[in-house]
Amino acid sequence: MSASRIRYLLLSSSLLYLLACSPAYRQMQPATGDVSTLQKFKPAFGTALYRTRVDVVGNHLSGLLLIKKMPDSSLRLVFSNEMGFTFFDFEFATNGNFKVYSVVKQMNKKAVLKTLRKDFELILMQRLGNTTTAIRKNNASIYYVFQQTKGYNYYITDSTGNTLVQMERVSKKKAVVEAIMKDYTNGIPDTIGITHKTFNFTIGLKRIEQ
């Protein structure tokens, strides 16, 4: 048996294991579909500014998040407080690379950076074409499953595929992060929400015009 076939079987079985273990997805059936249908939900950032609110284990933080598409198509995310002081400046390259240009000492921890990277990768949807997918569905929803280094990213649309209902970061057994993007204007979502399910951490973004 070829190595690629073994990899395929391992991947298929791990996806099946995931789908079988998760109660929310137990009723879903394998389905065929076109992953490219998700492209219409991928935010078409040029430059966008968001009022940002972060609540993490009882602490509240607010500020502004600027998202800008650079000439090489990478995305820069700069989060600063209302008085202009920068909390972080991250780059998400189209090849999946992640670069930290600056981060305040309080946030400069491996776990924090990893969490923020994964959260933003989920909503930026930059690498949908580069990872293996499975598609499942039930009466109400279609689930597009993308394998990550650890766990999976789920993009869940309604049964018609016209509305992005929710995005999820899923570990082996359950959703650890749920996210929404809605009210698109010219391809850019007006509202973005990220909620962690395993600890008290939410990020809320509301687009503002300058």
Partner: protein, 211 residues
């Protein structure tokens, strides 16, 4: 030889000061400036002003412009109300900070937060004219015909990681603050301009109450 060396150092200092801050030269008598600054600001018991804030992100060629209203009242009371493009309120009252972001209110005791404590002190010092005495910074002073600029360079560990320098421009006629430019280590900066300034007007204490 000694005189030549001193002259050379002086010329180099002037040259680099000019190169660093076009239009400004080092003040000839920093001690006198410090006294004049202190005397003038002692007379200012309150300041009411509009402000614009411009955050420049050099590498991204982007800027974020905010606007709002500013109040200062002796001793140590500041209120900043951002109204565009977002609503945000911050009150500094002695060692307390209150922020209101939408419906979310937050009270911070600066005594338990070193960064807020130092930034709080800086803001108050700028308005009270005591910035030149702030031990958290080394200072240099430059001037042109109408304005003076105080360059504050952090010396404390906490502030050194946040700012390259903070430059305060004051109007020489009344020593009121015209701009505060906070320059971050990355080279990005945030420039606050105070416009429509009214000095020594009556300001209600209720504006600074932190409940």
């Amino acid at each position: 030889m000694h005189k030549v060396f001193i002259s050379l150092v002086f010329l180099l200092t002037v040259f680099f000061a000019k190169a660093q801050y076009p239009g400004y030269t080092p003040v000839s008598d920093p001690a006198k400036f410090k006294v004049d600054f202190s005397v003038a600001t002692q007379k200012a018991t309150s300041i009411k002003s509009d402000f614009t804030q411009e955050k420049n992100m050099a590498m991204l060629s982007e800027k974020i412009i905010s606007k709002g209203k500013f109040w200062f009242k002796k001793e140590s009371q500041v209120r900043m109300e951002y109204s565009q493009p977002y609503q945000y309120l911050m009150i500094l009252n002695k060692d307390k900070v209150y922020v209101k972001d939408g419906q979310k209110e937050n009270k911070i005791s600066t005594s338990s937060n070193k960064i807020f404590q130092q930034i709080n002190k800086l803001m108050i010092d700028c308005m009270q004219g005591t910035a030149l005495n702030n031990p958290d910074f080394t200072t240099r002073v430059f001037e042109n015909k109408n304005m003076a600029m105080v360059e504050l360079t952090p010396v404390t560990k906490v502030l050194k990681k946040l700012f390259k320098s903070i430059n305060i421009v004051v109007d020489k006629k009344d020593f009121s603050v015209s701009t505060i430019d906070m320059i971050e280590i990355s080279g990005d900066n945030t420039l606050m301009r105070f416009i429509n300034k009214e000095l020594n007007v009556s300001i209600a204490d209720s504006l600074f109450i932190i409940k």
